[in-house]
């Protein structure tokens, strides 16, 4: 199921569409410009865990660029941040056996570690370097924006993404869940 390339193509498309819808219509502002507490990163994390790094990266990247296009300018450094974020969370997907119906303590810890690394690499590193190089914005401003982004996205991915993954794992029958009567 996981190694199905057609399914990955479709999952990327639908994931990007979900990302777009959530980013355009359901953003909760955090107080600093261009920085929203964005539910779409929770969904991106879910897709990365369910379908792996390529889908995680591309669905976010496509969704992000499409969203930016509707506002009139693509913010490339952040788009690459989104891409890297999905990629890193997706790399941990094999460790989280969601398709076995397990999302317990060890899976949640793996998921948290994946998100922590992904958020640190994606925002204060990739996106910040991009902002400083492309827009020559002072590092202090960029860093403030991106730290807020990283913290908010981490919280969002943990709460929203985590709860959805937990809910999803409950819909799958666990292996070995049949009892002999």
């Amino acid at each position: 199921m996981k190694n199905d390339s057609v399914k990955k193509v479709v999952a990327t498309g639908i994931g990007a569409a979900l990302f777009f819808v959530l980013a355009r219509f359901v953003a909760i502002p955090s107080g600093i410009p261009n920085t929203n507490i964005a539910l779409q990163y929770g969904i991106q994390a879910v897709f990365a865990v369910l379908f792996g790094p390529v889908v995680g990266a591309l669905s976010g990247f496509i969704g992000h660029i499409l969203t930016d296009l509707t506002w009139g300018s693509v913010w490339w450094s952040w788009a690459f941040g989104t891409c890297v974020y999905g990629l890193i969370v997706g790399l941990f997907a094999k460790k989280i056996n969601i398709y076995d119906g397990n999302f317990g303590k060890s899976e949640i810890i793996t998921y948290a570690v994946a998100n922590l690394i992904a958020n640190i690499v994606a925002w204060p590193i990739i996106a910040a370097v991009g902002d400083v190089l492309i827009y020559k914005e002072p590092f202090s401003l960029v860093f403030a924006q991106l730290m807020v982004a990283a913290v908010a996205d981490f919280a969002c991915a943990m709460v929203v993404g985590g709860l959805i993954l937990f809910g999803y794992s409950k819909t799958i029958a666990k292996s070995g869940s049949l009892d002999k009567e």
Partner: protein, 276 residues
Amino acid sequence: MNKVLNYIPKDSFIHRLSGTTKLVIFLTFSILCGASFDTRVLIALFILSVIGFLLSKISLREIRVMTTFLAVFLTLNFILLFIFNPEYGCELYGSRTVVAHLWGRYYITLEQLFYQFNVVLKYVIGFPIAILFISTTNPSEFAASLNSIGIPYKASYSVSLALRYIPDIQKDYHEISQSQEARGVALGKDVRFTERIKNSIKILMPLVLTSLSRIDEISNSMQLRSFGKKKKRTWYVLKKMTAADYAMIVFCAVILIGGLIITNQGGNNLYNPFVR
């Protein structure tokens, strides 16, 4: 809100260009605008993008929402840039010409004003081009043109699927949130923040589950039609390249190379009018 990417069908020179050409124009401007901080190059790009915008016959009224958004964003960004580091322009250009003293450490310097002018210019250039690109390119043609500039067709097809399913997912979201509201799950401003997050999950959960079953359905039907069996695919909506298209692509190559050469003349990508 049923329009996905604000495509505005019209008959103009820009509309008649193929999607591939418009994508090349968009990327050329994005790359050059990203790589350059040279005021002369930026101003030239700005003039070109305004000319392109005028050619497309799109009226300002049709893009009012986006223009307002950009204006608000630029104003905020302008103020923040100054507050966070009022001396940044001086560091960048290596000189300091004070115009006025505001208070404390806040001096208005020519260098800072010039630097912020450049930043504003950078955002403003991208705007007409992005608008041009999305309002004159048919979304179905978009995926075809991605493929024709060398992006693998499977990735292009993902983009096409995303564009196709955005309205459907929007409808799903709307229906789910309405039915949850009917059951007392509110997302409005009068609800507490933590409550809002909790309630949003009650909407997202069904949304994700329907999307997952939709993925199954679509990929099954694509598999039945042998998607992915061949190395290439053709696109129903791909426009034929005309002489105008080739001319525009050559023109893009010229401004890209010319822009990069001018930009890198002084050793870095800045244009420094403060050097004597």
